[in-house]
Symmetry: D2
Subunit: 381 residues, 4 copies
């Protein structure tokens, strides 16, 4: 595993726990964590139960006892590491967004396609696809329970920047993060839309904006934020992204990604409206899915709150009895399980680097639209 | 109409509005309001659009131009007025609770039965039966959508007495009110249970209790409460009633009526659990009914929130388009409409005085149970 | 009152009920209903309790016993009637949208301004401003409880057109309705945003679209829809409008108006995010307002569900005790009460025709933006 | 760890994960799982990552390399194992209910008290105390934010027995389970009430009942239930328990435990009403706590939905950023962490065996009350 921030903890938990609940064809070994700071990396390896730590990821790629490389660094380093790992014949799991630029993502998707021909697997870490409610939503759409999809509303709302004195972190620096709310969380909204509907966003019109452009630099990190230092830095990424997309079927999808929706902590929400039904999901209530069956009698119409904790719901079987809740990090166990299963089966897992590239193209098109007065921009190359 | 408190305003609105939306076989005329204080009564008549006011209800009963007597006084006067009105050949609508004692209620039910033989109609004012969601709940039960009823939970939660300095009103005086939370709001929980399930509460075990037994006397009334005077009075009614009832079918129903559930303003809630489905209703969201269809596929089980505003829902048709909400007082229009319809059709309306008597017996049984260490007490005479 | 459709019923109820609860300086008399079809108009007058009916509104305007003209016809006739009524020295209440074109609305606002100099009052019927929760939301913003407003999301979601065989009504004919979802319900979203924030939408970028362009003609109307005939007609208005607006303060507001959000019946929702707090409102739960106080301790942050039924909430005092719900049509009583109060006080009521004109300009700008590839269009003339 | 059912999986996950997030003074080693069936136990040990398996728990107690014994067997075996383990000088964590009879529980609490004098720690597994929202609720009560507690409503609602053909499991056999809904889930409702309020239930009146007394025997277990065999067995435990308790302060608490509340999957709910505020919690939304501050301005009163995912909430700090949800099994990690901390600090952890004994006495008193016509029964010995 390359990197050891918040995502490192989540991925470690995924690898650790997956084999205890899911029957994996191969047993993952938590071998080595790689980071630039030797002491911090060693501490992380010890804390999270990895065998070793290292400071040079290139060295690690040469090792025969490493089969899988899990990339959890900031987006600016994804391409270089992933390309090298694929070249070295390692299966690669890469955190989202796939890369900070479309060009990098194209190179990665291209390399992944070629690697696949040699049996090397790659996957991008849109874990919210693996929340049982989201996977079940996709199943309902695929089964035709929504009929023709008429509209989609997808939003990812947070509020951790509403205080203008909340400090800079690497997530506010375009060099490191590539993008702000758009790439960090808007990417999830786009991916979830494409995953559940089975459609692509083909063109977009929108606007991105930085609401607070100067903040104190970070003194010490706590959670996604931290304590403020005395100097000030310039925010170079967007705080808010509002855009409309045209899906493959012609339906309109409206998107919002923001770190300024006061009171909303982690509200990745999607509502899909079809001719025969509708679905609504909110990550803040991740064990629930609301389903509306428009074919019911007029007097019995209503959104029903399904607790997605039944044995037959996706991913739920190996966990707890009905009504016992899963949490945020369970998606990482599902991801680890699915990735191992794909490697063992010799099949291409989803979301592929090509899927990740497509999301990247959507994000780039939104930026281009914003730069050109919200003109409609196609997402195809 | 005899009486002109808060219920007088609600009944007036019911009589005024009903003919504007419902096709009534006879047109109600708001003729005369009766009250002890001539000036206050005249002001109420003027305010609410009645033709006249009067101070002696006995005089009014002798008038030929009065067909219907609507009793909205405190419970201690219900029996005397209703008996006289029925004797005078007037149709009688009487606010709940029917009376302050079972003996009075028995006399009233007896008189009502005899009057019915002469074509004189009587009804007791459990208006919450006429909230569309409650009427629709009854329809679902009657249609077998819940299967065998296994359990009922019915509660009426308010919090207007949590401040120990909140003043005495007539509702806290046993002489006038007959009972506290039990009779004022618990009566609604019992009636709604019997209405929706179509069953009777046949025996009860429970406890009633006064949590704050001394309060300032009332200086001036505002809403259900008012401002405090300097003297203190003794609360002679219960603040809280907790009881379990056995229904006709043998199922257990658990009840709570309280003015001390902090934060709950007017939460008359009922949840009915059956072998094929369940229903949940909350008066604080009176346009909604939650319905759970246990016959759905395992993965699609869930309470569905039905907006009870469709044209085909009970009482809804003559009002507004789908999704346009009704309020508290609409039940009084439905009550007026139903009462007029029953009079015109020569049929006995429900809830009858016999229904009201039964509720009264349940309340009395709860008091007796509370007095005897929560022993089980039958509700039959 | 000119017109006698669904809005006629609502306005009649407002005029009838307002004086029974609010102390009005002048007593409204429900004098005459005007409609083209003599029999239907007479029936409506009788049903709703008006003294007379008439077929020629011009005649009515010449009568000395008419002080107020209430216009509830489709939008294409608003301008002609309102201009004539103002010229005749009548106070005018006009349903929204103010007119079907900006030019008409300009003429009306101009006439209203001139009439105001002669003491003639005019108001446009955005009644949702008068839902207590909405008025209280404005009060909280005005009191600074939200701090600097960072973002607004306003949406009005319905689903009565999801069935492609649902028939044409006048609301789907541009000649009569002027606009579809945008003008019918989007107008409310815009007005409510401007009302609560106290800001104007200064420019917009967006798209409007017709999802089903051919439908059966209407055989008989029921609610907002009706039964289908055998012939087919062309839908000439939009089904969906998605747009982003820039407010006076520079904050971004994102809007949606649609008749295709499956399962949403009448969901006019607004969420306002500020530096110190946030508000969320949903017309489907119109007695509630969610308020988030961002200045609370970190561990105690949360949206609180306020039941807007307290004596001290706007408009609530004269109604029922705490926890007793109001419904859709109560806003019409508040509107009647406010209009009479303004006339009596010789003050200009809000929303004025100028306010209505501004909303009209926003709608026109959205149409222009949609026609020009979602380019940003200013709303100023 | 003795036992390897559903609770074994949860405890294993707790021991595995706790040291990866919490700084434990001593590192737990998952040494040996004990079960009667050698093959099944070995499989469980392998699956859950334990070093060894064994079939005789007495042997294991003699081992010097075992410091802690974790008992997750059915309740009928708790006393024997725990007494032996304490005698052998092992720290003991015992699943709830502490035992199947009060006599057993008394012996265990007595042994635990004596062991504590020798530095041996013991704890009973009411893990729901360690859901962050529940721990935070206790903090709010302890800080006086609720004022004087007036009423408590605690209920644990499930529905997995509504189908009369749902099969027998050991949980329906009094010999093994000791009790039905009362002991299995009612115990949690009682413990949570005592934990959050800091008070004891001192007397009770109630009823327990078996609604379906004959069921097919179990063929194969799935979740809490399983598939039905052809023979039939007799249910010897209660399906439903309804009881009222008197707390130390004199306040009344009303309880319900049931496996027949259709549509409720795992709804452990508690609402505490006080003179200054109220709290509501529902395990089906375990990351949320509703808090009502009755000292707010009248117009701003309301239950606020707190996402209990802030860094400063109990147990949350070492996990994920704000807004990232925890699940059911996180309570087991918190339990493991707290137990290790208590052992290392040489302090008595809570809930102690004495706490578990008290809950047992409450349950026994409910059974006695039910047997004596719902008479009030003290819980003191």
């Amino acid at each position: 595993m390359i990197g050891h921030g918040f995502m490192g903890a989540a991925h470690s938990q995924g690898w650790r726990v997956a084999p205890r609940f899911f029957d994996l064809a191969r047993q993952p070994v938590l071998q080595v964590v790689v980071g630039r700071n030797a002491a911090a990396t060693a501490a992380a390896a010890d804390k999270w139960g990895w065998e070793e730590s290292a400071t040079d990821w290139r060295d690690v790629l040469t090792r025969d006892d490493i089969d899988v490389v899990d990339i959890v660094t900031p987006g600016d380093t994804h391409a270089e590491i992933a390309l090298a790992a694929l070249a070295a014949g390692k299966h690669v799991l890469c955190e989202k967004p796939l890369a900070n630029t479309v060009a990098e993502a194209e190179a990665m998707a291209d390399a992944a396609a070629r690697a696949a021909d040699r049996g090397i697997r790659s996957m991008v870490g849109f874990t919210y696809r693996r929340v049982p409610a989201a996977a079940f939503a996709r199943d309902l759409v695929a089964a035709g329970r929504l009929g023709v999809i008429r509209q989609v509303r997808a939003e990812y709302l947070q509020d951790w920047l509403i205080d203008p004195e909340s400090p800079m972190t690497w997530r506010l620096d375009k060099e490191l993060a590539g993008s702000g709310a758009l790439g960090d969380i808007g990417a999830h909204a786009v991916d979830l839309t494409e995953f559940i509907t089975g459609q692509r966003v083909e063109s977009v019109s929108g606007i991105i904006e930085t609401l607070v452009s100067e903040r104190p630099v970070l003194a010490e990190g706590v959670g996604l934020s931290g304590t403020a230092g005395t100097e000030r830095g310039t925010v170079t990424v967007d705080d808010v992204a509002l855009f409309t997309g045209r899906l493959s079927s012609g339906a309109l999808a409206s998107f919002e990604a923001t770190r300024f929706r006061t009171g909303r902590k982690n509200a990745l929400r999607i509502e899909i409206s079809g001719s025969r039904g509708a679905l609504a999901f909110d990550l803040e209530r991740l064990n629930e899915l609301e389903f509306y069956d428009a074919t019911a009698a007029d007097t019995e119409l209503g959104f029903r709150r399904i607790l997605v904790t039944e044995h037959d719901h996706p991913y739920v079987g190996p966990w707890w009895p009905t009504g016992h809740m899963l949490g945020y990090e369970h998606g990482f166990s599902h991801q680890a399980s699915d990735f191992v299963a794909a490697i063992a089966a010799g099949e291409q897992p989803r979301p592929s680097f090509a899927d990740g590239l497509h999301v990247q193209r959507v994000l780039a098109a939104v930026e281009r639209s914003s730069d050109t007065g919200s003109a409609w921009v196609p997402t195809a190359p």
